[in-house]
């Protein structure tokens, strides 16, 4: 039974069809990548899943409930957390606070608790702080809890973004180009981290990625998009030799040349 199932999702911007009849399914506990050339509609598809965009047509089922018409915060509450292509941290908050914002939906304190600092409030805050610390260490950061997020180096910011998403205890984690701008060593660490997230926590991971080493190294299944449509899907092996994929990436002429070489 699939965790996430989209059927014929269409998202248009004026005359432009950014996502066209996207049918896609994702099984629980998997690590799956969506790849495709720039402008293929991958991020638009992510944004349609998370409620930032409202798709014009189609169905999105998550845990057998429709996500259509839900606001992004409601989608988040169903157990989908995400990171962004260009890092979106809360720059002038500390690292710990960033991660604690990720726990927003899990915290139960109400205004009365907050104003009167009830025992419930204090216990919850302390626990949240500790859990945030743990998440910070989990993604490989130490002793930066009180730093402002914007003061961290690029790689650190990427990690905090992931920690913030994990703090929401999601079932599904959406990563939008998580290794963009990383050197090979950092990408290697990132791959290990993603595996660990899936293996330890059982969190399903769906990611958009351009770095083929990362995609081929970690994905159990790959979907390829081009011009808003899914043009192929399969295991890394199948995708590597798929004619349409090569065409989409290299252009038709190059693809023919590629074929002749073999």
């Amino acid at each position: 039974m699939s965790l996430l199932q989209t059927t014929n999702v269409v998202k248009r911007f004026g005359g432009l069809i950014a996502v066209n009849k996207m049918t896609f399914s994702l099984d629980e506990g998997r690590i799956v990548s969506i790849i495709g050339p720039n402008g293929a509609g991958k991020t638009t598809f992510f944004n349609s899943l998370t409620g930032i965009y409202k798709p014009e047509e189609g169905q999105i089922q998550f845990k057998n409930h429709s996500l259509i018409g839900l606001r992004p915060d409601q989608v988040a509450a169903t157990g989908i957390a995400r990171t962004f292509q260009n890092i979106r941290l809360f720059g002038s908050m500390t690292v710990i606070e960033n991660i604690m914002v990720g726990m927003h939906i899990r915290l139960k304190q109400n205004p009365i608790d907050i104003l009167f600092r009830t025992r419930h409030f204090n216990a919850e805050e302390l626990e949240a702080e500790q859990r945030a610390s743990e998440w910070m260490e989990y993604v490989g950061l130490k002793n930066v809890g009180n730093e402002l997020a914007r003061n961290l180096p690029y790689g650190g910011q990427r990690r905090i973004e992931i920690a913030r998403a994990l703090a929401a205890n999601p079932t599904l984690l959406l990563l939008d180009e998580p290794t963009a701008g990383m050197n090979p060593n950092e990408s290697e660490d990132a791959i290990k981290l993603f595996r660990r997230i899936r293996d330890d926590k059982g969190i399903t991971i769906l990611m958009i990625e351009h770095d083929m080493r990362v995609v081929m190294g970690i994905s159990e299944y790959i979907s390829v998009m081009d011009y808003g449509e899914k043009i192929a899907e399969g295991t890394p092996q199948e995708i590597r030799s798929n004619q349409r994929v090569i065409e989409a990436y290299l252009g038709r002429g190059a693809a023919v040349a590629h074929e002749q070489k073999h």
């Binding site: 915060d73 710990i96 939906i105 009180n146």
Partner: protein, 445 residues
């Protein structure tokens, strides 16, 4: 220059220096205000004492003791000798509470609200309408009211109306928020500006068809809450007479009374603001300010949280509004002009967006500047005008200085200059916001 100051600051902030400096300011300030109650410089020394106290490294218990001594004993006693000082401090407290409220909306949640004074008006008019004779005059023409109309409510209802002011203002905040929060940034600022004007114009025109606000003439008299019973008053009178030099009158007692009332409100406002800031709600507000898209993706309901910010910010203004109406015994639409909103915004920006100590300092500084420094400067100029003094070298007689040059009227200019200078040179304010440092387990390794 900058390092010189910070070196000096560091040097003066070690060992026994801090406590010495604070005591010097406290003693010199108190004595000079006691001896010459009309001197501006004496008052300035006294009023900077809390600021210095805040920045100096002193044992927290001693700090609190000195602070309480100043607030509860020294200021009221000196204030009775020159009632104007209590008035200044009352205004500082009123505007500090307003600034704290606006700080929640603008500083924490990042929603630029240029009509904040509308909520202040709601609180003020709530008590003004019910705490005066206005309810008995609903059907009489403004200005032609029968003189013997009865007061509608007992003055003790005032205590309830502080809370009603909070509720009404918060409700108005939500009402404003519902349609407005779809717009962002500049558009939000313009819509709130319009809202502020709408409330003022309503106050101006709701004297017909039924006379609710008495129009441009405003409502007066508004009742004040009764002073404590005579027995209690007698104790205070006996206590204060030797300190003040004469038995304090009821009018003077009322000033002290409102001073303490304002202190209680500001204390609650500070408590509420700090507790909100350091909580799930405060973090959500800051997250929205920093990045709306990321905040909503983390499950923060934008509309609900923004409404909460508007309501929380407005509620401060509602409480202070009721207090203000009772203190002045008079409200009129003029008090709630656009300039007031800008004034409160200036305080927030001067002190530091999102910084609770900052906005309190900002409020104190702007009030002091407006009703003390500029006023005194005007007085000084008019004295010079009447003298025979001449500016040397250019040979200009002060007598010929135009009467139009009156610094007290340059409030708007001062607001403008403060806003421009702060935005260019110190956009994070004089006391910038700081995030709380947590004692994390991992740091101890």
């Amino acid at each position: 220059m900058k390092t010189l100051f910070s070196d000096l600051y560091k040097k003066l902030n070690t060992g026994f220096w801090p406590i010495l400096i604070v005591f010097a300011f406290l003693v010199v300030g108190s004595i000079s205000v006691y001896l010459s109650p009309r001197s501006l410089s004496a008052f300035l020394i006294l009023i900077t004492t809390p600021l210095i106290l805040y920045f100096m490294k002193i044992n927290m218990k001693i700090k609190i003791f000195i602070g309480l001594l100043l607030i509860i004993v020294i200021l009221p006693v000196l204030g009775i000798r020159n009632i104007f000082y209590l008035e200044v401090i009352f205004q500082m407290a009123v505007f500090a509470a307003l600034a704290l409220g606006l700080n929640i909306v603008v500083g924490m949640a990042g929603l630029l609200d240029l009509g904040y004074v509308a909520f202040y008006a709601v609180g003020a008019y709530a008590w003004a309408i019910f705490g005066s004779k206005q309810m008995s005059l609903l059907h009489s023409i403004p200005g032609a009211a029968p003189a013997n109309a009865p007061f509608f409510l007992d003055p003790r209802w005032f205590w309830l109306f502080i809370f009603l002011g909070v509720g009404l203002a918060a409700f108005t905040g939500i009402l404003l928020g519902l349609p407005v929060l779809r717009v962002k940034g500049d558009y939000l600022a313009i819509v709130t500006l319009g809202f502020g004007e709408v409330v003022r114009v309503l106050a101006l025109n709701l004297d017909k068809p039924i006379n609710l606000t008495n129009g441009p003439q405003g409502i007066t008299p508004i009742q004040r809450p009764p002073l404590p019973p005579e027995a209690v008053m007698q104790v205070f009178r006996n206590l204060l007479t030797p300190l003040v030099g004469h038995p304090p009158t009821d009018a003077e007692f009322y000033n002290v009374f409102f001073y303490f009332l304002a202190l209680v409100i500001i204390a609650i406002a500070i408590l509420v603001a700090t507790r909100l800031e350091d909580s799930r709600i405060g973090r959500a507000w800051t997250a929205i300010r920093e990045d709306e898209t990321a905040a909503i993706a983390m499950g923060i309901p934008l509309v609900k949280m923004k409404l909460a910010a508007f309501a929380a910010g407005a509620s401060f203004a509602g409480a202070v509004g009721a207090l203000y109406a009772a203190n002045r015994t008079f409200v009129s639409p003029e008090t709630f002009s656009f300039l007031q909103s800008i004034g409160v915004l200036t305080m927030v920006i001067l002190g530091g967006l999102g910084s609770i100590p900052g906005v309190i300092f900002g409020a104190a500084a702007v009030v002091l500047l407006n009703i003390q420094v500029l006023q005194n400067f005007s007085l000084y100029l008019s004295e010079l005008r009447q003298s025979d003094a001449v500016i040397p070298i250019i040979n200009f007689a002060w007598k010929n200085l135009s009467n139009q040059l009156d610094p007290a009227k340059y409030q708007k200019l001062v607001f403008g200059i403060i806003l421009v200078l702060m935005m260019i040179f110190r956009p994070s304010g004089l006391i910038p916001a700081e995030r709380r440092k947590r004692e994390l387990v991992e740091d101890k390794e």
